[in-house]
Structures are given as structure tokens and as C-alpha cells.
Amino acid sequence: MATFEPALFARINKPDSASLKTYQADGGYSRLKEFLSMAPGDVTNIVKDSGLRGRGGAGFPTGLKWTFLPKDYPGPIYLAVNADESEPGTFNNRYLMELDPHQLIEGIILACHAIRSQKAYLYLRYEYGTSYRVLDAAIRECRAAGILGTNILGTGVSCDIILHRGAGAYICGEETGLIESLEGKRAWPRIKPPFPAIEGLFRKPTIVNNVETLCCVTQILYRGTAWFKSMGVPADPNNPRDPGSYGPKLYCVSGHVNQPCCVELPLGVTARQLIEEHAGGVWKGRRAKAVVPGGISMGFLSASELDTPLDFAGPGKVGCLGLGTAAVVVVDDQTSMVDVLYNCCRFMSHESCGQCTPCREGTAWMTKILERIRTGQGRTEDLDLLMEVAGSMGIIPGTTICGLSDGAAWPVKNAISKFRSEFEDYIRSRKASVTSAQQLMAVH
């Protein structure tokens, strides 16, 4: 651990790190010609062998996803880059796009070559205005230098990137919601199958990959699969379905810590290590009461679960939904879990796309019930009601099209099962602790 050298973040503190000149000076694009001369299947195999799993939240093996494309498809095939980073607490992709856009662009070109795509659409959330301008400039530099466009560096391979700005909707991070949005429609996720690899963007085979995932592709090609597999948590030999958690990961730490940060570490670091060793500890000398392990939709770790390794399998072992985006949000012991859960539920209610009834109604009613509890009108049976609603919505119980609903249910399930006595005490006290500032925000 002491010898860990950042790879994804190797360049972010250098002056002018976003320019093509400095990227090339650091060796960027130096082997692009070589990689583009390889057979696409060989590039896919390297990524497959590395064990890279998607960094966007679901952790699906990237190389395997690429192999789902139809064989010998005449084209076009599309790559959709998911830069709609909207999971509360998550900001790692923003660092990658603002500070090292060429690492991402090189990953996009490599991925496009592997999947035989000549066009990538980068779906960028509107709020990332700086990322937009940095990427736009970087793409122009590449086109001028022959790194993007037709016949890249004389290899005969062609690839271009189109930047597409979103309009403020969390659901556009769901891969088929993203596709619908790109097509100019409301971002209602599609029923799967068909999966995007078979029928995706503009009804063509499409691969959707996250920004950090594609940056990992660049690093894997340059540094090799052995380097990537040298860190992280190996696959559990007793679980044939565990693909392991290899490679570096960008962890975001925010909330009640002294130094909120985004830090690159091998997969499997614990929440406690992140808080104590990288984020300067819990602020104001307080203790952590609850910690979000990977964006709010993953639920909560309690104070006794902070030594949970944050690899793909770790959070699930203590009842969380998963690693998610590895965005750690720390809640101190002076904060009410009622307020925290209300915030999570209001977010999900606001961001539910409204397509599936259990999600549209469930998120809204959970928010209303929590509002009732917050204003001192709660009943102890409300907690069972919340658990019942949360248990009935999502892909896991099989009632919705996409996973937003599971992510809306999980913080409720975790908060009530891990902090039940706090909720009960709050309800029994019949206090109404809503401040005027909170009231202003009480719009769904």
C-alpha cells in the first residue's frame, strides 16, 4: 500500500495537464498507433484479462460487455460514454475530464477500436460546464493532430467523438435512459432485453461505458494486465460468480470530514482508512455515525462497519447495495438520520423518471412519510410502512424497469434496520425539528 503510485491521477497535479502537448510529453498517445494496429479482438482480450469492471456503479466486467456485440456486424456500432455523473457524493469523473481529458480520449479511441465503432457520443451532464469546455478544446486539438477523425495516425482506423450535453436528469446515467435522451426523447429507461450491445443507440449495437472505466482502459493498455491485477481484491475462490475487484479506484470522500477529497487507491481500502488517512478525520473532533459507501443509493454503513473493505463485494456483505460509485459521504454523530434519510428520499423522488408506478409512487410516498416524521407527526408503524414500500420497489423484487428504484429503496432499508432506535426515539419525542431553511427545500 505504501508503494502505491497513482495511475489515473498520475498527471492531474501537473501544470497544463489538460493540453495535448503535456499529455504527449508524458508519453500519451505514444503507443496509440501500435494499439490501433492490433486486431480489435486482441484489445478486447487484454481488457477482459485485466478483470476491469465498470466504474459507473454496477461493476459489470467491461471486456465481457464488449464481447456481447453481434459478431461481424456490418455497422455502425456506437460507443456511448456515460459522463452523466449525478450520484450524490460522486465527482471523480469531473476530475478526470477537467484535468486529464486526453487520458479519457485515448481510452475512447481504444475502446472504439476494440468494439469496431467509429463514433463515440460523450453524454455529459449539463452542470459540468468546465468539463465541457476542456473536453471540447481537447477534441479539437486531437482532430487537428490527426488523433481523431478518419485514418488516425495513418492506421486506417477512424474514430470521432461528439460531445452531447444533458439537461439535468439523474436518470440519464442509467444506460438506456442515456440512450433515449441522446436520441432526443425523454430519458425513460428501456425494458431489457434487448441489451444495448444488441440494440442500443439509434437501434444499433451500442456499448455504454463510464468515464473512469475508459481511463482504466488507457492505463491497462500502457501498463499491462499484470500491473492492473497486482492490486485490489482477488476473486473469491469459493464463489465462482465473483470476478474479483482489481485495479485502482477513485474514491470520493465528502460530508463531515476535515479534508473532503478525491483519491486514487487500490480497490479494497476501508471506509475508516479513507476517512482517517486521506480525508483528515471526522470534522470538529466528532465521530462518524453513518457512512455512505458509494453514493446514496448504496445505503449506509453504521459506525461499527467502517472497516468494511470498499471493493465490489465488500459493502454487500454488510447489507449495502454494493460499491456503487465509491463515493463515501460521512455523517457525524450530531446529525439526525431522519434528516439524512429525508434528503436521500427527496432526491430519489425528484429524480424518478415516473415511468414505473412502484418507483414514481414509492419514492414520493416515502418522502411524504419522512416529512411527516420530521414534522413531529410520525407514528411508529410508519417505519414498517417505509420498509414495506422500500421492499416492494426495484429490479430486485421485479417491479421496475431500471435500478433507480433499488437505489431509492436501499437507503431506507439500511437506515431503518441499522438506526431503528433513533427513528423510534425521534417519533416518540414528537418533536418538529424542521428549520426554515429545511422548509424552503421541502419541494420534491
Binding site: T90, F202, C262
Partner: protein, 157 residues
């Protein structure tokens, strides 16, 4: 008399080659119109639909799905300032910040100040949690904002 200038139409048409069909230009077109006219009016929707060879209802459907776009009844001020209300900002004073600014400028979230300078909005996670509480002025993010730095930023707009 059309609502969309020829210049704006040219910018929308310039997006066509980037996509295999015109419908995919809906969001880029809405952004261009919204940025320039500070709202997307009923007339603008009809004209966008003509350009994209869609029914106006299709453009309207997409536009209204995203809470982002304002119609002519509620146009944007000269600037739009978003206050993050999601978890990391809430934990570090985001709600109090918004209340303070609303009080100071006598405006509610979703409304525009009387002088037309600024439309105040709450936002869901702006992705700048390391600098919570954060705000977005148009599309530029400012981190670790407090009521006095927020006022200083707004007064310069």
C-alpha cells in the same frame, strides 16, 4: 415573423451532421434556443419541430421531461444560479446558504429577482462535493461558498 433568428437556425442545422437523424438534435436545439432567448416559447417549439421534422408535441414532450427548460411564462433572468441541496452540501450548510440568499435578494427558488438579474434554483448534486456547499453560476461551479462569498459573486453578475 419567426422567433428563431437565422443565426440560431444555422447553429441548430450545424448539429445535423453529428447524428444519424434530426430528432437527436432536440436537446442541442433546446439548449441553443434556451441560452439565447432565456426561455423556449410555444412558438419556438413549433419552429424547432419544423427544423427537426418532428411534431411540436414531440419536442414539447422532451423539453418538459427535463426540468431544466423554462417556458415563456417563466423566463430565465440574465443569469441562473443553482444551489446544491443534495447530501454533501446539506451536511455542510447548503440549505442555510440558499435560505440566506433567498432572503437577501427577496426571491424564492425557481423565481427571478425583480431586476431580472438572477434566477435562483435549487439543484440536485452538482458533483463538487469536495467543495460543499457549492453553487453553479450559469454553468460555472463555485465551491466552499458562504453567504458573503455568494453575495459577492451575485453582485458582480
Amino acid at each position: 415573423m419567426s422567433v428563431l433568428s437565422e443565426e440560431l437556425r444555422e447553429k441548430i442545422r450545424a448539429e445535423f451532421p453529428n447524428y444519424p437523424n434530426k430528432r437527436a438534435v432536440t436537446l442541442p436545439a433546446l439548449h441553443l434556443v434556451h441560452d439565447n432567448l432565456r426561455a423556449v416559447s410555444r412558438e419556438a417549439i413549433v419552429e424547432i419541430a419544423e427544423l427537426l421534422e418532428l411534431h411540436p408535441a414531440e419536442v414539447h414532450d422532451t423539453m418538459t421531461f427535463y426540468n431544466f427548460f423554462k417556458d415563456e411564462k417563466n423566463p430565465l433572468g440574465r443569469h441562473r444560479v443553482w444551489f446544491c441541496r443534495s447530501i454533501s452540501c446539506m451536511l455542510r450548510g447548503g440549505e442555510e446558504l440558499l435560505e440566506n440568499v433567498c432572503h437577501h435578494y427577496n426571491v424564492h427558488p425557481g423565481e427571478t429577482t425583480a431586476d431580472g438579474r438572477m434566477t435562483v434554483e435549487f439543484a440536485e448534486c452538482l458533483g463538487a462535493c469536495e467543495g460543499a456547499p457549492c453553487i453553479l453560476v450559469d454553468d460555472v461551479c463555485h465551491m466552499n461558498v458562504n453567504p458573503s462569498t455568494a453575495s459577492a459573486l451575485i453582485d458582480k453578475l
